[in-house]
């Protein structure tokens, strides 16, 4: 079974590299957010596989923690852009009033 875990973790690692590359080259900031999000999911999987590979499945708690809170960041991004949009509107309105 070892080599199966190994192969899977290599596949996940390569995907992580691809995500990092996407995060570095962008081009839009959302590509970077996408990269972070994808990297997060891959980390969950990587940790799960690695804990089997190293024979200590009780460390799965970590993967669980990741799975639970990985998406909070993306929600914060949504909130950030939403409020920035409203602020831009407000500024535009003020400009128009002047």
């Amino acid at each position: 079974m070892e080599w199966v875990y190994f192969g899977t973790s290599i596949a996940i690692l390569v995907t992580m590299v691809l995500a990092v590359v996407r995060g570095l080259i962008g081009p839009t900031i959302f590509d970077r957010v996408l990269a972070v999000n994808m990297f997060g999911t891959k980390t969950v999987l990587f940790l799960a596989v690695i804990s089997f590979l190293s024979g200590r499945p009780d460390f799965l708690d970590l993967a669980l923690a990741y799975a639970l809170i990985n998406f909070i960041g993306v929600l914060a991004v949504l909130l950030f852009f939403q409020s920035r949009g409203v602020r831009r509107d407000a500024e535009a309105e003020r400009e128009a009033d002047k």
């Binding site: 190994f6 973790s9 690692l13 992580m16 590299v17 995500a19 990092v20 995060g23 570095l24 962008g26 900031i29 970077r32 957010v33 990269a35 972070v36 990297f39 997060g40 980390t43 990587f46 940790l47 690695i50 590979l53 190293s54 009780d58 460390f59 708690d61 970590l62 669980l64 923690a65 990741y66 639970l68 809170i69 990985n70 909070i72 960041g73 929600l75 914060a76 991004v77 949504l78 909130l79 950030f80 939403q82 409020s83 920035r84 409203v86 602020r87 407000a90 500024e91 309105e93 003020r94 009033d97």
Partner: protein, 330 residues
């Protein structure tokens, strides 16, 4: 062998991401890349068997710090506009520093070398004596909470004072408001209430996150975890709720006075355990005297101080988040 290969791989990625963070002048990009940075870091900690650290890094680095960074970013401009400085001097300095460190560590014992000095002196004692003296399966918890409990007490106070510092900075300037009415502004920007999917899914997860936090808190003796991680997880639950429902409702759930009280209360609880053990005739933070049976006393002491740590960390995270959200994440 696999450990070293994986860890080298991850470290290489880490360096690349770090350079990426340095080279960008868009702060949003920097925030996102630092999210990736801490994920890599956590995976690396995990590979090196430092599960407790990995858990902390995961919760704080990947979860909460992104939220807080974005909160800070909303208060500033998106682009780094610091004046251009010469890049050669810093580059030379840091290369020289890195060179010195590499030069020094060439002689260091190899990773995982059982004959390394580190594994010969204090560490075996901890491993041997923990079952007998403290009797918790997770030796890391034993070291942090009891053998070096004074350090952990210090760290709790570091967290406490950091909270005071952030609050004194953020509370300094009254929030600036735009021309829109305050309430309406909040309604439109402060929450994700009209996004049905995140709202339903997120609210479903909040209790699980808090539950998992409690599990980590009380399971810290057995597996990776403890007060720091648990506090961050519980706070992550509250932060998720506040993101979805808006700052005001989040502040209804956990009022600001309560979260800032929690910060001090946690530190106070920890110190109290020490003072009580002094009063009962032991040294400061000597939990053995808390009960007639020393091992049971240790268990009791560790339970209480971990609760104190959890309270402080929860309080700090929530207080800082509230401070940002009150100034309007926008």
């Amino acid at each position: 062998m696999i450990t070293i290969v994986f860890s080298l791989f991850l470290l290489t990625m880490l360096v690349i991401v770090a350079v990426g963070i340095l080279r960008t002048d868009n702060l949003f990009t920097a925030v996102m890349l630092s999210g990736i940075f801490s994920l890599i870091m956590a995976a690396n900690f995990f590979i090196l068997d430092a599960a407790d650290v990995a858990l902390t890094e995961a919760v704080i680095g990947a979860g909460i710090s992104t939220v807080l960074f974005l909160g800070a970013l909303a208060l500033t401009a998106e682009y780094d506009r610091s004046p251009p400085v010469g890049t050669w001097v810093p580059l030379l300095t840091s290369s020289a520093l890195g060179g010195v460190i590499i030069f020094a560590t060439l002689q260091a014992p190899r990773l995982g070398d059982p004959n390394a000095v580190v594994h010969k002196h204090v560490a075996p004692w901890y491993l041997d004596r923990t079952p007998e003296l403290i009797d918790v399966p997770n030796v890391v918890t034993a070291v942090l909470a009891s053998f070096r409990g004074y350090d952990t007490l210090g760290e709790v106070f570091v967290v406490f004072i950091a909270c005071i510092g952030v609050m004194s900075l953020l509370g300094r300037v009254r929030p600036r408001r735009d021309s829109i009415e305050e309430d309406e502004f909040d309604k439109r920007t402060d929450n994700l209430r009209h996004h049905l999917i995140p709202r339903v899914v997120g609210k479903m997860l909040v209790p699980f996150i808090v539950l998992f936090g409690l599990y980590v808190q009380f399971h810290g003796d057995f597996g990776p975890g403890g007060g720091f991680q648990a506090g961050a997880l519980i706070a992550a639950g509250v932060i998720l709720y506040s993101l979805l429902e808006g700052g005001p409702r989040g502040r209804e759930l956990v009022p600001e006075w309560f979260s800032s009280l929690l910060v001090a209360l946690g530190a106070f609880t920890y110190t109290c355990v020490g003072v009580v053990s002094m009063a009962m005739g032991g040294r400061f933070l000597d939990y053995s005297v808390l009960s007639h049976d020393p091992v049971h006393g240790q268990h009791m002491g560790i339970l209480i101080i971990e609760a104190g740590v959890g309270m402080t960390v929860t309080g700090v995270m929530i207080t800082i988040f509230h401070a940002f959200s009150r100034r309007g994440i926008r």
